[in-house]
Amino acid sequence: MSERSDVTRRVHPLQEAERAVQPQQAPRSRRAALLGGVGVATLAALLAGCAKDAPQDTWQPAGENARKIDNLQEPVFLIAGIVGVIVFATVGYCMVRFRDRGQDMPKQTHGKPALEIMLTIIPAIILLFVGVFTVSTVFALAKTNDTECIVNVTGQQWWWEYDYPAQPGCMPGGITTPIVTSGELVIPATTRVLLHVTSRDVIHSFWIPKLNGKRDAVPGRDQTLRMEADHPGIYDGQCTEFCGLSHARMRMAAVSLNSADFTTWVTNQTAAYTAPQEGTLAATGQSTFISQCSRCHQVNGLSTTTDGVTTPVLSNPDQYIVAGAAPNLTNLMTRTTFAGATFDLLTQECRDRLYNATPEEFGQLYLQGVTPDCFEEANLRTWIRNAPAMKPMYAAPDETVDGKYRGMPHLNLTENQIDELIAYLQERK
């Protein structure tokens, strides 16, 4: 009798115990149904990854920086996938091939230097290979000395503010008057834009998956993020750091315009204020805006005249809002969304038309802004009527922090006042 058979005759006590408690095998049909279910679920999960209509798909880069990330993650995922398949296949093979059929305990061995060295060296080589490319990509993404346009991005509960400093870059002739807007980050296409990302209250995270990775917005810190879009279009994003009650409704979009369209957009944003015509509903709306909204929301150029003295209407959100800021509404109707890029100002039809526009026609369509035909009035009306009902901003309706609100409170406006405000805001283009 060989040595092996002497040794393998022993049975481990655990094996005995397992055999004693082993249930009867499930019927073949039940096992087949289970395997079928798992297979269908796996297939569904795999097929979900093939969706074309995925606006926040990091696998569909639309800019230089996102492409750098993609160029790194694809081979890394491939390597990880191959390693995963090998590991799962090996484990699966061992589980099936050497499963307990009542056989004797196999011979136990310890130590196999050649195998152990190989299993150390191969992962080390793989990690070194991945590490070299990762580090070079990280450095390339952190570059700040070759950008052509600067935009300050400030997050707060639960919207993003974008301000464009006066600068020689961004467009021919540069930006001469600072611009402030919200919700949609408008950038010139094929231009390396540098975002200075920060926050007014808690930590947020800025992420437009098709244009670059994410960058945390941290109060008191100035973090940079490169961004470049290959062609005109609209790219959706989402705050990716849990930041409070309406974190899920803190969305953003980057709008890329060609150079000429971007220049037009800048010109629109810095145009002088146009007051509504006397006697119109919008003119009444202006008064309502001043009395009800201007404490927090700024409309540049808005002023009041008393006894021949003209005084600019200046908002004081620092006195009413925890974050100390509220969206500037000077050019509200040049955007397609409001309230943290969450609700549409465009009807579904117009929105689809804009999202599906070719790069050549996109700019002109976007610059039209919210036309009367495309205006989704119901959303704005519901918002003004009771904002917290659409976007929860505080746990209790009357909850404040030192007398300040976290977001827009319920203003208890009359339907007439809402009509007036909508008429006024529709002219903010």
Partner: protein
């Protein structure tokens, strides 16, 4: 049949009830109620214990029980001596002392009582777990050692760290690093010796470690009593009227209060700091730089209501400060308009020194007077300013 224990508790119940009756009859007023309620409570407690004792037949060991002599509760060895009641009493004393002195003493008392209660309870329980004292002891250790060792280790480490910190605070700024290096060398040296001499006696290692620990704790206690060295405080510019932010090097000369503030500030900023802009004074020129712009800028855009940091670097001879002007507050005092400029500033920064200035502009630039925009300036330096725009 009533057991001995039951008889005792029954007697206590009857006696307490009688005492309550006698007290109630012999006393009047509020004290009668208090006494009667107290004694009846005692009677109730005795009654309850009697009931429990009677029904569970505690200590009632039949003579015929085969393991009565070894396994029954009555056959258990008597409770061993325990220091925990003493510790608990000490904790109660601390609570009382803390109630009239400092909250920290009170909290320490609570912790001591809690720890003593747990230890006492587990010890008492384990001593009754079986008739084998060795097994009982191992049971107690198995339960409490996972709690005791980490806690005692943490407390020991905390005492050592605290003692060491007292030593470092006592030593001079120059002596501190030397002592630190010395401690490090000693630890490394002894550790090397222990590692190279595996046959060294355990008692020697324990003795050296104990002497070192006692030395640190003793030295720490002595130096804590002696008090810490004089530590320079960072100045805080109390500048309600903004005047300090406009004072130049010449204007503070000879004023001890101002000089104390200005000349003891840190002149270095951590490399990990993250300013939104860098303002540099060089060759009499004030320039601002932001990341991403390759040329200096003369107009800095700052988001409203968002405190941000600006790094000020002085490369010129002399001492200069950076002052931010964020508008003017107008208030009425006795029907008279009082205007106060919102100024924030660094302290005076020496040549090649730097400091961080935290600025906050709560209002947009539109709120600034046309002839007084928001600015960053260096008092005493004419014609140089960075305009701040708050959209």
């Amino acid at each position: 049949m009533l057991t001995t224990g039951s008889k005792l508790l029954l007697g206590g119940t009857v006696a307490s009830t009688l005492a309550a009756l006698i007290w109630g009859i012999s006393n009047g007023g509020a004290s009668a109620y208090v006494g009667v309620i107290g004694l009846l409570s005692v009677a109730l407690a005795f009654g309850l214990l009697f009931g429990v004792n009677y029904f569970v037949r505690d200590c009632n060991v039949p003579a015929t029980a085969p393991d009565a002599l070894t396994a029954s509760a009555a056959a258990m060895p008597p409770a061993r001596r325990s220091a925990w009641p003493l510790v608990a009493a000490f904790g109660v004393g601390l609570i009382a002392l803390g109630a009239v002195t400092k909250p920290i003493v009170f909290k320490a008392g609570i912790l001591v009582v809690l720890a003593a209660s747990i230890e006492w309870m587990v010890q008492a329980w384990s001593e009754r777990a079986s008739s084998d004292p060795a097994y009982n002891d191992s049971l107690r250790k198995r339960l409490l050692h996972p709690l005791e060792f980490p806690l005692l280790g943490a407390i020991g480490a905390a005492i050592l760290v605290y003692s060491f910190s007292r030593i470092m605070l006592f030593l001079s700024k120059e002596g501190g690093p030397i002592a630190f290096i010395l401690f490090g060398v000693l630890i490394l040296g002894f550790a090397t010796i222990f590692a190279l001499q595996p046959t060294i006696k355990r008692g020697v290692v324990v003795g050296i470690c104990a002497i070192a620990a006692l030395g640190i704790v003793g030295a720490g206690a002595a130096m804590a009593i002696s008090g810490q060295r004089e530590i320079d405080r960072h100045p805080i510019v109390n500048d309600d009227d903004g005047a300090q932010c406009l004072r130049t090097e010449d204007q503070i000369a000879g004023n001890p209060e101002y000089e104390e503030i200005e000349h003891h500030s840190s002149q270095k900023v951590s490399a990990k700091s993250n300013p939104m802009a860098r303002v540099v004074l060089e060759d009499g020129q004030l320039r601002a730089y932001i990341v991403g712009a390759d040329q200096p800028i003369d107009q800095l855009t700052v988001a409203r209501s968002n405190p941000g940091n600006i790094l000020f670097q002085n490369h010129d001879e002399g001492e200069f400060r950076l002052t931010a002007f964020a508008g003017t507050d107008v208030t009425k005092v006795n029907d008279t308009e009082v205007k106060v400029d919102r100024l924030t500033c660094t302290t005076l920064i020496r040549k090649d020194g730097e400091a961080m200035l935290t600025v906050n502009f709560p209002k947009s630039s539109a709120a600034a007077a046309p002839d007084a925009p928001y600015t960053l300036t260096v008092p005493g330096l004419e014609g140089q300013q960075i305009t701040v725009v708050v959209p």
